[in-house]
């Protein structure tokens, strides 16, 4: 009951905020939601299955470039382009998964980064399609057709992204609560025993990798619609590392954790950076403190504090 009340309050707040905040902050909130989807998708692989990837931006970038290329060079149709962005990101994840899931631990980390760099290289050099380092400007916000509001307004686009965030959250929540979700967590805990129990662990990891790719593609597409621009930066290792940081900072192995992590990182990146030049240093310090004192992330700290306060009562 308490949980549902909490969710209702948060949704109410998210409904009201765009009406009272200026455009800059609404865009910031929109970015938080987009990166929250991205971080949650990474958490499926990293937190639930236990495979830390440094190449998750690859699927984000595929989603982003699909929207960019199709909107500008083929057809600007949201109903075709966004699903296509999601499917293509999933297909690239399916292809990469065949290669990366042969490895584990540090090798997995390195090979995911290397494959992401391959796509970054293609985006930089295939100028005809991608615009090279200059990127592709002039990507229009989606035209949904049947809704009477224009998505050009920051508030309307926020609600549009909020809808996708809620859908993505619910879908991922359903997956992690399913027998499949129970199994991937157990693979993280003890893969050998899972194999001994008759589970085809590779298949579970592969499907999880594809699911993560699909949602990353969605978030990449939504970001391009927000910015109206796509460049090779969406494929950089630094973006993958940032997502990794969001997951670890918020709390891996939960869906709320990455949302908190995304909010913290995007907030620091955009707000603190306007007051101090070395905001990354601050992010680094916060990260070190979290790892040292609350390895379960900010969510772990919140849970610990609420347990303590309950014990006092």
């Amino acid at each position: 009951m308490k949980r549902w009340m909490g969710i209702a309050v948060i949704l109410l707040l998210l409904g009201i905020l765009p009406q009272v905040l200026g455009d800059y902050y609404v865009i910031l909130l929109t970015k938080i939601l987009i990166f929250a989807i991205f971080a949650m998708s990474l958490d499926i692989v990293q937190g639930y299955v236990g495979l830390p990837s440094l190449g998750h931006a690859a699927f984000f970038g595929v989603g982003a470039y699909t929207i960019g290329i199709f909107s500008i060079k083929v057809l600007n149709n949201f109903w075709i382009n966004l699903p296509l962005a999601i499917v293509l990101a999933g297909m690239v994840a399916a292809l990469f998964g065949l290669l990366v899931l042969r490895t584990r631990a540090a090798y997995f980390f390195i090979i995911t980064a290397a494959l992401s760099e391959v796509l970054y290289g293609i985006a930089c050099t295939w100028r005809f399609f991608t615009g090279g380092h200059d990127g592709m400007p002039g990507i229009a916000r989606p035209d949904i057709g049947f809704i009477p509001w224009s998505l050009l307004s920051a508030a309307n686009y926020f609600y549009f992204v909020l809808f996708f965030f809620i859908v993505a959250f619910i879908l991922m929540y359903v997956v992690v609560r399913s027998p499949f979700g129970h199994i991937i967590v157990s693979i993280r805990e003890n893969e050998l025993r899972m194999r001994a129990l008759g589970y085809h662990t590779w298949l579970y990891k592969y499907v999880s990798f594809i699911i993560a790719g699909l949602f990353a593609g969605l978030s990449g597409g939504l970001l391009v619609y927000l910015n109206g621009f796509v460049s090779p930066d969406v494929l950089r290792i630094s973006l993958s590392a940032e997502a990794l940081l969001m997951v670890l900072l918020g709390g891996a192995g939960t869906l709320i954790g990455p949302v908190i992590g995304a909010a913290s990182v995007v907030f620091l990146e955009n707000i603190v950076s306007s007051y101090m030049e070395r905001w990354v240093l601050m992010l680094g310090i916060i990260y070190v403190l979290v790892v040292m004192f609350t390895p379960q992330g900010i969510l772990g700290l919140i849970n610990k504090m609420s347990l303590k306060s309950q014990a006092k009562v």
Binding site: R177, P179, H182, N190, R193, A196
Partner: protein
């Protein structure tokens, strides 16, 4: 038909010959003990049977089916189950969750992505029945890491048995247990149906000879003796391996 036929199994680890032409045949329903000093190759043999390791050469037949090249999970689906030398559980999960996990592996719903696990009441009912039978029901909500070592060992064996395997490999099931716990484990193993063939590795000679109907002795990667416990006790080669002398 035999429960298990291991035919001339060899295993070479980069120049170290861990197993050399090991051939073992186990009858259906048999209790087979495997003994031998440390480094004899017992666990390597188990790992080859279960699919953790591939043999360098040789073949393995499980109830007449060639499983030499099958992956581990596929062997488990052919009703081959095992426990490990070191307890291998899901320590962050509760006792109940561990059992549910083992039960799910035999159901097609293990691939379900769109429904919560909690709606499958039948699995939880089966888990309750099993936990009550093994006297662990009161501890169902404890994390495995909160159980005593002996309880963890029991749960470990329980996990291997829950899918009603036809062949069970137990790697040192009594290791690290107190005398009272050893007795409990032995009585549990004794009570198992004859439909389950059991091969076990045991360091406690008395336990091995008490539980087994036949015993295979491995030494330096080779089978040096095989027979009933009485035959093994009298075998001069076994005495030499264990006591350094052929005199008993």
């Amino acid at each position: 038909m035999k429960a298990l036929v291991a035919d001339k199994i060899c295993k070479n680890f980069e120049g170290i010959q861990a197993l050399l032409n090991v051939s073992v045949e186990v009858e259906i329903g048999e209790r087979r003990g495997m003994i031998g000093p440390n480094g004899a190759g017992k666990t390597t043999f188990f790992h080859i049977i279960s699919g953790i390791l591939s043999p360098t050469s040789g073949s393995i037949y499980l109830f007449g089916k060639d499983i030499t090249h099958l992956p581990m999970h596929a062997r488990a689906n052919l009703e081959l189950s095992q426990t490990f030398q070191l307890i291998s559980l899901f320590k962050k999960l509760t006792v109940l969750e561990n059992i549910v996990l083992a039960l799910q592996s035999f159901k097609r719903r293990k691939y379900i992505l769109h429904r919560p696990l909690s709606i499958y009441k039948d699995v939880f009912n089966e888990a309750e029945k099993a936990l009550q039978e093994w006297e662990l029901w009161d501890k169902r909500n404890l994390r495995v890491s909160e159980l005593s070592y002996g309880e963890q060992r029991l749960l470990d064996i329980m996990l291997a048995l829950i899918g009603k395997p036809r062949l069970l490999l137990l790697d040192e099931p009594t290791s690290g247990l107190s005398l009272a716990e050893v007795k409990t484990v032995i009585s549990r193993i004794r009570a198992l149906s004859r439909e389950i063939t059991i091969i076990f590795i045991e360091h406690h000679m008395d336990v091995a000879l008490e539980l087994a109907e036949r015993v295979t002795v491995l030494h330096m990667g080779q089978v040096v003796a095989e027979g009933t416990p009485t035959e093994i006790k009298r075998d001069p080669r076994v005495k030499k391996i264990y006591l350094g002398t052929e005199k008993g």
